[in-house]
Amino acid sequence: MALQLQHTFTGHTDKCWSISVHKTLPLLASVSSDKTCRIYNTNTRKLVSILDENTHTKTMRSVAFKPTGDFPSLAIGSFDSTISIWGKDSDDFTDEESMNNTNNNNEWMLLAILEGHENEVKCVDWSFDGTYLASCSRDKSIWIWETDETNEEFECINVIQEHDQDVKYVDWHPARNVLSSCSYDDTCRVYKQDEYDEDDWTCVCNLTGAQGTVWCSDFEDGDGQSSLRLVNCSDDSKVRVWKKLTGKDNENGALPSTLKDEEEWELDSLLPSVHESSVYGVAWSSNGLIASCGSDGKIAVYKEQAKLNSYSNKQESEWVVLATVSLAHGVYEINCVKWGADNQLFTAGDDGNVKLWKLDI
């Protein structure tokens, strides 16, 4: 089992920080300290568009495609403390050929600039149905923005201030209005939408234990009802899987979680050690694999498998390493990892490149 390099997307002239893979369309977006966002067609591997137009005065740190809408749109968070929203012209989209036209930059339009954060925006992410955009910043806050299909109106409906330090990352659950955040304060938190007041978000748990900044988190795919898990990674070179305890797991007779705001979460697994230094990115694929990348230039892919506990005679699970690649971006650090369709993996590095890998099983 190995990760095979299939393609290298070049072009950024500085660190590439973040990538986003569109949920349904063959589109890949990458952002960089060179203050541009490059959009590629993942089928043809051709550059589709470059978004810059001097929109942001500092590093573009984070990019996220909106999962819904008739036409593709995305959000970019920048160190200049603003967020820009871009969308494709509705009329042009019927023209499939234009997707491959590298010269036609006018197709993507700047739809909105969101201001409000006091300093660097570190991450942006859309909720599963595209209703909400979450953003986080060094100002220690998370903003929840509500929007519509046109992406022209954004209203901040809540400012969450739970972390003591910079909020490094926000991630929405793929099927529910559940949000997680990672911070420089070494914690990762989970928030739930209030059942009565839709604009209200409550922190339901605080995942502690990392010995250093938590850089990234990703929820497991699924309906989030029967089982809720997330994976996160941190400066202490560890990758951890956390699990929400259900009534069945909760044997100590505590109140059911519906009667209080807090949820019981526990460390489900500490993944096998692969990394030697800060782990910057982690991603959970729809078919259950986890990938991680970090400052040591390594990529690792892990798989969960059943194991019989010889003492209790119960079925348990353990994570094993399926594949690793060292110096995956040469001597450069790797900032972000994202899964595509069919076991495709995308990574972004300080060399400015985005690499496409295929996991051969």
């Binding site: 300290s33 590093t59 570190k122 250093g212 040469g330 650090e333």
Partner: protein
């Protein structure tokens, strides 16, 4: 600047500072090596930010500054992986490992933000506190670990000094180097806090886009030849 935070620091005489002369004087070197080295050093002398600042008309902003690399390793040219490997292989044969003295020479000449003295003279940077792990294979990741000693334990400029050192090394060292900057144990009351900040890649990147901060740092580099 108003009242200095440490008004009366201990100052070392320049002649007391470690130099290449002491270590290399004894070792005889071949002509080829000497030429190689003088080349590297003449490159080094071009690093001063002062000259580029004076010549600012060519640059719209500091981020555009492109400084030469310490070695002839071409990694900075953001080429594809295959190209990098080829270039690397060709250059490996005549590359020397980077040693602590070389790192010392790069950072000891940085000027303290509040005294007209260098970090070497103030004993903030010491040769013995620089550790270099540089594998012979230049396609591997290398590391420089520097422990700095602030002049006083509550020095609020420790972060700025550390950032200055990081920026200087980021600009001069080949990309394979990971730079770790720590305060010497017990040398500062917020040691962990400062260490965390100095080694947070994202915070350092953001700081490097702060014009005010860059101005102060380029002033600190004005004493680097």
């Amino acid at each position: 600047m108003s009242d200095p935070i440490n008004a009366n620091p201990t100052v070392l005489d320049v002649s007391q500072l470690p130099t290449r002369g002491e270590t290399l004087g004894k070792a005889s070197k071949s002509n080829a090596e000497e030429t190689e080295e003088s080349l590297i050093y003449s490159n080094l002398f071009n690093f001063s930010l002062l000259s580029t600042v004076a010549d600012k008309s060519h640059y719209n902003d500091y981020n555009d500054l492109l400084l030469p690399e310490l070695t002839d390793d071409d990694l900075s040219s953001l080429s594809s992986a295959d190209d990098v490997e080829e270039t690397e292989q060709r250059s490996v044969s005549h590359l020397e490992a980077i040693d602590p003295q070389e790192i010392y020479d790069l950072i000891a000449t940085i000027c303290d933000p509040e005294h007209p003295l260098t970090l070497g003279q103030l004993g903030v940077v010491n040769l013995a506190d620089i550790k270099v792990t540089d594998p012979t294979d230049k396609t591997q990741i290398a590391e420089v670990l520097i422990r700095i000693t602030p002049t006083i334990t509550h020095c609020s400029l420790a972060t700025l000094i550390g950032l200055g050192i990081r920026v200087r090394l980021d600009r001069c060292l080949p990309q394979r180097f990971r730079i770790v900057i720590l305060l010497k144990e017990g040398s500062h009351q917020s040691e962990n806090q400062v260490n965390k900040q100095l080694n947070d890649k994202e915070r350092v990147s953001a700081a490097c886009e702060n014009e005010q901060l860059l101005k102060v740092i380029s002033h600190m580099f004005s004493t680097c030849q």
